[in-house]
Symmetry: C2
Subunit: 328 residues, 2 copies
């Protein structure tokens, strides 16, 4: 689960983050995001990305907080292009930064990687590379193809890694998988398929399930994810499990038939997705997500930079389920 | 659904079929099976296979009934090797023979094919080739990789095609998919994932779900399948759906956590699987399946010929579920 104090932002337009700031919080926040769309001067426009962090006392201040570069992409080879979906987690007393990256030589050869902070302060201490995330010894399948968007959560003393990986020949399908973790950089168990794009709303443009994020409430584990291509059709689905269940058993996870959050033309918000969860200083659950303010997108949605980071106060229904509403 | 009168046998040892015949039936049966293991004289031993049929008045007589060759594999190119998993279906007033085949040039390039009988009697009328099974126009995924074991059933006026197809790069995973059919040789809808090997018992040797077969009872649709490599670990799993449910919605299908039929050392039966369903002349449900009588197998289980066709009388529990028992 996203820890209090860490905000994981997936956005290609971090300056947009402040646009929806409206709450006065008192927590101390560190946000991690990539910075590709500020470097248009680079070859091919989107090659150079950086892991960056900001620290501030309120979520509102995050947009204007000091930026620190903690890691730069490699000039070539692994981790040299498409530096995507960074997440910051505090595990076993250390900060870890999970992200996905391709290579300049093969930009779609995207795999998950791990950085570890060598000191206590993630903004000042050096970060070391752990290389590619390692699957279990007996796992012949994980991280062999396009794989990204890892998130981490804990339950009943076990730590879980959830990620998206594509299958298929030719055009591919992006599924979500889960496994238990042995260490912050190695899995203990083989992959288990959590969800594949089953429905029309998960199959617009591309068949995609990606961007998993976990929040717990009332003995339940809610796992949200994003579906379809990253334009106006991009939306959020959800799986639910009991925390006492075997989380490596797909039967423990109930998938929603319909999206839990999607575009709202009335609000002028399009393609909400790739969210994470945090809390404000008063303990309210906050969802950080990205969305666009234009329905029509110039060029490939993947490379259109107008994905704004937004915040939503998450409320809980009487049935114990999260209520995702742009009015919150 | 397998129609009364047609017995679909997956076995590499058709002579074994009679060994377990123990019932006196009066129906007229036609069985289809491949004949690879009788042609050891051929190059590479397993290249030449034939679609064959037998007709008789009782299931017991099938083992000794007249054999008729209805189709021969091609000398090269598509349908020239690994002629597998034939099934006979009577659709829209005609007989169709569904099977999977590879090529001599690439023996693992296995895809599903369709034959249509041009006359009323499947034993005497010529069969014509419909070529490879066609997916829906908007389907970018189906039949692009190793795909086989198709079966067909009908529900509420729609016809469904269920098949196994592998995904992944390098070592692959065999899943089961479902789609509605437009014609006997073309699908109407894009693929929907029904089941993937989630559990240890589906992951022995290879991660495999294959050999789907459907039987209906009490308003429910039971879809059995086979899991793991074809040795002693080979076993049967099951999905269940209500016949009123949307069968293209994976949420409509409930998967069993454990196998519904597996090896029985006490009975000396190993690796039961790749079943189909028929009825005897008294209307009793009969399951036709294959299994081995040896626990240890010489060489690659896939090519070991000792898979015997067997029969099991299927009984129904008070809960409306099928009871799979070697004692039946």
């Amino acid at each position: 689960m996203i820890r209090v104090g860490a905000v994981n932002i997936d956005t290609s337009h971090p300056l947009g983050f402040g646009e929806v700031m409206e709450r006065d919080n008192r927590a101390r926040y560190v946000a991690v995001y990539n910075d590709s769309f500020r470097d248009h001067g680079e070859v091919e426009g989107f090659i150079r990305r950086f892991g960056l962090e900001r620290r501030c006392d309120t979520l509102e201040e995050l947009a204007e907080a000091q930026e620190v570069t903690v890691w730069k992409c490699h000039p070539h080879g692994s981790m040299s292009m498409h530096i995507w979906a960074p997440e910051l987690h505090f595990l076993d007393g250390k900060w870890y930064l999970y992200f996905a990256a391709g290579t300049r030589e093969d930009k779609w050869k995207i795999r998950p990687y791990v950085l570890e902070c060598t000191g206590e302060d993630p903004l000042t201490a050096p970060w070391k590379e752990h290389g590619k995330m390692q699957c279990a010894a007996e796992d012949s399948f994980s991280f062999r193809s396009f794989s990204l968007d890892a998130t981490i959560f804990e339950n009943k003393g076990e730590r879980y890694y959830v990620w998206a990986e594509k299958v298929g020949v030719g055009k591919q399908i992006s599924n979500l998988y889960i496994a238990q973790m042995e260490t912050p950089w190695r899995l203990k168990t083989v992959q288990v398929l959590l969800t594949t794009p089953d429905y029309d709303w998960e199959r617009v443009g591309f068949w995609v399930n990606e961007g998993p994020a976990v929040i717990r409430h009332g003995g339940k584990i809610f796992l949200t994810y994003s579906a379809s291509e990253t334009g106006a059709a991009y939306c959020m689905g959800m799986l639910t499990a009991e925390e006492d269940a075997d989380l490596l058993d797909p039967l423990s996870w109930k998938k929603e038939r319909w999206p839990v959050l999607e575009s709202s033309p009335e609000k002028g918000i399009y393609g909400p997705g790739h969210n994470s969860f945090t809390t404000d200083s008063e303990g309210n659950d906050i969802m950080v997500y990205h969305a666009r303010t234009e329905k029509d997108i110039e060029g490939d949605p993947l490379y259109n930079p107008n994905r704004h980071a937004m915040l939503m106060r998450l409320r809980w229904g009487e049935d114990g389920r999260p209520v995702f509403s742009f009015d919150s």
